[in-house]
Symmetry: C2
């Protein structure tokens, strides 16, 4: 069972979909929940007050980035991540594993950990399970992640080696953990290979983690492969623990993930698209607002959307900001994109609670994606 202060209570179920409440030291999360990403202790172009207005509850920060800059010890000296970035609600930090494998240079993996060079200044560093936990304890997030190795999706030999290391490292992370006010989640790996995913889900489920993540998805596999992995893992994971699908976050991915039992999501997509001038639609379409077709368009991005941006600004104004290279465009588009995903999750939760999730999902997938049909 999950120990206090991290109780997880499932309030309603609809098929595999769940609506729950996950208690953390910085407040309760109503699940399913989408976490905006604040890689460097800032959700890009957005103030914490604006995040609160968006009804954001959980945010994610990246261990790899904060370890390198400004340093986890500096953040600990400043009172921890909540105080440093002035976010009063729950925070989740990843383990740094994924970034070491995707961003760092000249990495050398051994059975004990990874040696790599910083993508910022080339300096040499080492991460291992104990170090990843120590850093995350310094950062002080509510939810922290076991150090894992994320393999390429299509090399089974490597996927198996990476999974085996991830399992040994998961045990070491549990041993290394010392703070009682942080929930350490284990991570299921195994690429797109059913036998590996099954083995990994069973092994991680056997350990004393209060929550379990599915890692290594949305990195090149097809949507069908992603769904197969989630369905397979979902049937093995203990029902009473929250499940977190890492780094996944198109609108369709969220609905598909909840349908397959997922409770927590995070993704850079809404804020990254905003900085590339794209507004997300609820159904997975995108408006590329730099396009000339919007130059004189007096409508908001979405006339049914209740976000600050849609209530107050036209497509013509947003396009002007983009063309004139005004920073405000990133802020206003980030607000819209985050609001869209957070509102979608609220509606999903409401549908599960009111026993209407099947209709909700059917209607959702029948709906056209929206302007430009530019699916993720």
């Amino acid at each position: 069972m999950i120990k206090a202060p991290f109780t997880f209570q499932i309030e309603a179920q609809a098929g595999r979909a769940r609506a729950g409440r996950f208690q953390t030291p910085h407040g309760e999360l109503l699940t399913p929940v989408f976490a905006p990403v604040g890689t460097q202790a800032s959700v890009k172009a957005i103030t914490p007050d604006q995040l609160t207005e968006l009804n954001a509850s959980l945010i994610l920060a990246n261990t790899y980035h904060l370890y390198l800059r400004p340093g986890d010890e500096l953040i600990a000296d400043q009172g921890g991540l909540h105080q440093f970035m002035h976010w009063p609600g729950p925070i989740l930090t990843d383990s740094g594993g994924f970034q070491v494998f995707s961003l760092a240079k000249k990495r050398r993996i051994d059975q004990d950990g990874v040696t790599f060079r910083s993508h910022i200044d080339g300096s040499e560093h080492r991460l291992d399970p104990e170090k990843a936990i120590k850093i995350q304890e310094n950062l002080g997030a509510d939810i922290i992640m076991a150090f894992d190795e994320c393999a390429e999706p299509d090399d089974k030999t490597y996927a198996q080696q990476a999974m085996n290391r991830t399992h040994r490292w998961a045990e070491r992370c549990l041993l290394a953990k010392s703070r009682a006010d942080q929930a350490l989640f284990g991570i299921v790996q195994g690429g797109i290979f059913a036998d590996l995913r099954r083995e990994s889900a069973e092994f991680i489920s056997s350990l004393d983690f209060p929550g379990i993540a599915i890692g290594g998805l949305s990195i090149g596999e097809t949507k069908g492969e992603m769904h197969d992995v989630i369905e397979l893992v979902d049937q093995i994971l203990p029902v009473h623990k929250p499940r977190y699908l890492m780094g996944v976050g198109t609108p369709q991915d969220l609905v598909n993930g909840v349908m397959r039992g997922i409770d927590l999501f995070d993704c850079v997509l809404p804020t990254r698209l905003a900085r590339h001038n794209a507004a997300m639609t609820r159904h997975g379409g995108r408006l590329n607002l730099v396009n000339a077709q919007y130059a004189k368009d007096p409508q908001p991005i979405d006339s049914s959307c209740q976000c600050y941006t849609c209530l107050n600004f036209s497509r013509a104004y947003l396009r002007h900001l983009i063309v004139a290279k005004e920073m405000l465009s990133a802020t206003l588009l980030s607000i819209h994109n985050l609001f869209t995903l957070i509102k979608l999750m609220t509606d999903i939760r409401h549908a599960v609670m009111s026993e209407k999730f099947d209709e909700f999902a059917a209607e959702y997938f029948e709906h056209p994606a929206g302007e430009n049909q530019d699916h993720a």
Copy 2:
């Protein structure tokens, strides 16, 4: 006298300093007032809601920029500048004159106007008094400016020619103006030359402008020369009209300006400094927050400041954002810098109203500038 809806009422005086109320179609301005600059219909890195929280009342937008991009006719079609940028309060637009002389390329001045090439795409354009008024009527600001020519500060022959053209253009602007819901201000020019400034102040005062600006300052002259010009002009301008000192805005400039009879100010300084990592102090000092000395500094920029930034974020966090190139640093520093100037103006007004402005000013100038003593 000033016609409705633009009544200007002086509520209190202290020496030359005045506290007043200037009525506009989009609300009343309590003067003296400082206007943040939204060059391209956006106060950089700040939302309109954040401006409201800062107690901003008047904002300035630039005719030259908006004429070139997105175009004044487009903004008129979108309902005007207030609706386009979602600013419900008073807006002031300049005439485009200053930017033509400081930003545009290959400009050719004749008696009727200026031909120039866009700094954006090199396209050829022409501004003259009638065009400048037409553009500003399309933009729809509450306060609009006569088309003027701003001369270099130290060439008397040119200063006189520019002043003479400015006077002829002022008359033409008055004739060209057609909207009753905009207050057209005349502009006094004449460089640093007392006889020219006297002639210009007398001439512009003789015309039927509801407010008068002093242009051509803060462009290379000394502070002493600036003060001499303001004092000289102040004694000529009609008492019952608001006076606007264009483009001037260090904290000391504001106090010095009010002492010499100025009611309105605008300046890009607070937002521009913010984007260059500098926090302003109330007394004219600056903190360059990229400096390593702030890396572990848990204090806010100014522990006595009540802005959102100072109430919630440390120097260490702000420095981290700067070093990590997070856009949030520009937002948070702009909030602090704008708050500092707007609060200073509120305090100045209060001092004038409560007959304590002399003590206020004496105390203000005795106070050290603050961190780094890096005066503007």
